[in-house]
Symmetry: C2
Subunit: 479 residues, 2 copies
């Protein structure tokens, strides 16, 4: 048990130093690593395998709504980036510039895409002529670059992986409908696959995307009570269409501008999974996103028949569609248990000579550590049941945490006290003026996370200035 | 039939102008498009869907051999690129340089990866300490940039998508074994999925990868008799390991250098599929890689019951795992047929009121245009059979073309005559001197494609200089 303890001791306790705990888990679970390229990370196999699960399931959900995948160039000529005024102001300060191709200077410098609205608009301006060409529902999976000053694995890095959907529609209504549809796809994905509950709502003007008419967001709450923006969906109206001249001939033979949306999710979701579900033993992966759902750990594996039985169980479970491995390395069982826990495998199966004699094995849950005796003949059925239960219980635990860490504040004193002393979301009223948002950010380091779709009337006065309130806001400190 | 004809007439005949035919197919089948970013292409939904099929099946084949996916940064600091002498010489002239991040100049400029050997080596130097850490079998899917002067869709563009595998091994033998294993994975994939036969062999020193000890290749023959390098696998020996200091402590407690490989395939494979299988009606996709395997075209679709029956057939076929669509647009059936052909759908199902009355439908093969009456009750079984037959027949046709366009030449006169007048591969002997390769390239625009694993003794003299022959080479003009 000594070596077992060593692995666990290497992690800082989350209550002591949450930031260090996070870094330790990322490192010990071998999710990612720093690289020689400042601010860029290396996503290692255990981390990338989670991203592959996310990608495949999210992509399936997109395709069900009619979305098609494409691939656009990674470079944006400077003149193209500048076409939409708000957009260039938002992104120009944080892009990487390519100035030379081969041995020669470029005639016009290009940035590495920080996001691809401008490229899609340029493409749509050529592609779209008639109402018959609409809607366009395109998405791409790629990496983007934003020259951040301070970076953290998965949460903020100079290059990150994401998907960006870009759609063009005949009418404003259709664009709004698509914006909300994709926000709901995100919320459902977070809930059903990542077991993460979210608050859905609209960003204030201060917090919305550069060039958007409206930005919607799904906000999740991490274990330490900080918020994480986990996906956004933007309605551009016809702003980009006017800047790029994207027009179509409608049925009535008049020329009209299209209405556009974009929406994206990133590798930051992996950070969310770590910080919502993890504990002092490491990562906890919801079964639906776990690259390895079940780890079989043979006990006394050198005894005749043990490994054979482990492989047999594995094959039976793989046959049923589960993602299963046998840890047949020469490490001790205790070490293997710790490793399963560190890496967040939803449950492990322990099986040794005595178990085989008794025709059973032991399921050990990662989330509750509960041990369950299971007859060898029932393994497939019980595994399916347990994975469902773990998925549900993990969501339920996260939901309870979100609920118990959501507070209300009716006045400035309550508000300051809650923000400063109770990490979590604070629901409070807002007058609609950016000055109050600025003050709250300056004095309390808290931001408006969103104007939730489900509005409540906490009071009738702005929590900051005391003037008439227009909206209830979820406030919080955020990553 | 007039509109039908129009669509087809828009393609240049392949016998008249193969290059223009290729461009026309790429455009009309909506596979890709030029972008405002010079030398970079936009991969459109129909093209990207083929890439997704390639990716998924190739990725599965990699994983079966123990490969894991990772993601490395897209930037390479200049000092890192320069660590291996041959490598930097090969790539530095054709990379794009990032010189500014945000508003500030970088302390050290970075290139956008043209390939990632240097990044993986830098990573491995930190990751690998002991023989227990070996082998490392990593791969990544990403885009790379090479500043090409002349570009062609899928075949050569400044940015392209690919996978790059990078492995590290304890011994030279293991590295060589992995190099050949991955070459065989490529050859099998080309044969079994893309229905493309290849010649397997080793590149000459002149043609090998910058920094490699040995480069192996799979060479395919396009319809016009030109060769296309379709995948390469490199053995680096310990050259990179020495340049980057990648050492491990072996079981005997001595410090040793690792031996490395890399191997890659790109979106150029889509170009290969077009140019091996296409005809004057457009694309022909092998069933295993076709995003839509079966298109159902309803005839007189406004008549009651026709569309319902079409959807019913679709659902039955999807249920069996086929990729199927119904073309229920308001275009004429003739137009739909042409479109199916242009897009290369392996076969279409025609179904109209009379067919339904007779309890049948018609399968029309894309490759042979054969029409087959099929009882509605047999659709699933017959579809499965037909897709298998088409896959096999397409491979067989490509194999026959390769065979009938592979020539031998015993002396310089024969060699010149064949290269100039008979497009295809020419098997001829070589003395091993680069001077002869250079002369052949200068005078005949032909290159050594590979030293095939299956050697033959065409004569005992070099086809160029007449000195003693060392190797038989496949020569050809290439893309």
């Amino acid at each position: 048990m000594a070596e077992n303890k060593k692995l666990v001791e290497a992690i800082t306790s989350m209550d002591e130093d949450f930031a260090q705990w996070y870094t330790d888990v990322v490192k010990k679970a071998e999710l990612c690593d720093y690289s020689s390229v400042k601010g860029c990370m290396i996503i290692k196999p255990a981390g990338y395998a989670i991203w592959e699960q996310i990608q495949r399931q999210l992509d399936d959900a997109f395709k069900k709504t009619g979305v098609e995948n494409v691939y656009m160039p990674m470079f944006i000529p400077e003149s193209l980036l500048q076409k939409e005024k708000d957009h260039v102001e938002g992104f120009a300060p944080e892009v990487a510039w390519v100035t030379h191709g081969g041995l020669e200077p470029l005639q016009e410098r290009m940035c590495v895409r920080p996001t691809s609205e401008t490229l899609f608009c340029d493409f749509y301006a050529n592609e779209i002529q008639s109402y018959r060409d609409l809607p366009k529902l395109y998405n791409q999976w790629c990496s983007v670059v934003r020259w951040e000053k301070t970076t953290r694995p998965f949460l903020r890095s100079r290059e990150f992986l994401w998907q960006e959907g870009h759609t063009a529609h005949a009418t404003a209504d259709e664009a709004e409908e698509r914006t909300i549809l994709m926000l709901n796809v995100y919320a459902d994905f977070l809930k059903d696959v990542l077991a993460i509950p979210v608050v859905k709502g609209q960003k204030t003007d201060k917090e919305k995307f550069a060039g958007a008419e409206a930005t919607y967001t799904v906000e999740a709450l991490m274990h330490d009570g900080k918020a994480l923006q986990s996906g956004t969906s933007h309605n551009f109206g016809d702003g980009f269409a006017k800047a790029f001249g994207i027009q179509y001939t409608d049925k009535d033979n008049t020329l009209k501008y299209v209405h556009q949306t974009s929406w994206g999710m990133t590798t930051r979701l992996i950070g969310a999974v770590i910080m919502v579900h993890g504990d002092n033993s490491g990562l906890k992966l919801p079964p639906k996103v776990a690259p390895v759902q079940i780890m079989i750990v043979p006990i006394q594996q050198k005894k005749e028949g043990v490994l054979d039985k482990a492989y047999e169980l594995r094959d039976r479970l793989i046959e049923k569609g589960f993602r299963v491995k046998v840890d047949d390395s020469d490490k001790s069982p205790g070490w293997k248990f710790s490793e399963c826990e560190m890496r967040g495998v939803p449950f492990r199966i322990e099986i040794g000579p005595k178990d085989i004699e008794n025709g059973k094995c032991i399921f050990v849950r990662r989330d509750t550590r509960e041990k369950i005796d299971v007859a060898l003949s029932d393994v497939e059925t019980k595994a399916a049941e347990l994975l469902d239960v773990i998925q549900r219980d993990m969501y339920e635990a996260a939901r309870a945490h979100l609920e118990s860490h959501t507070y209300t504040a009716a006045n400035w004193e309550e508000f300051c006290d809650t923000i400063n002393n109770k990490p979590g979301f604070v629901k409070a009223m807002w007058c609609g003026n950016q000055e109050c948002e600025d003050k709250i950010k300056d004095e309390l380091s808290a931001t408006s996370r969103c104007m939730p779709f489900e509005q409540e009337q906490i009071s009738d006065k702005c929590v900051c200035c005391g003037k008439a309130a227009k909206k209830m806001i979820y406030w919080g400190r955020a990553y």
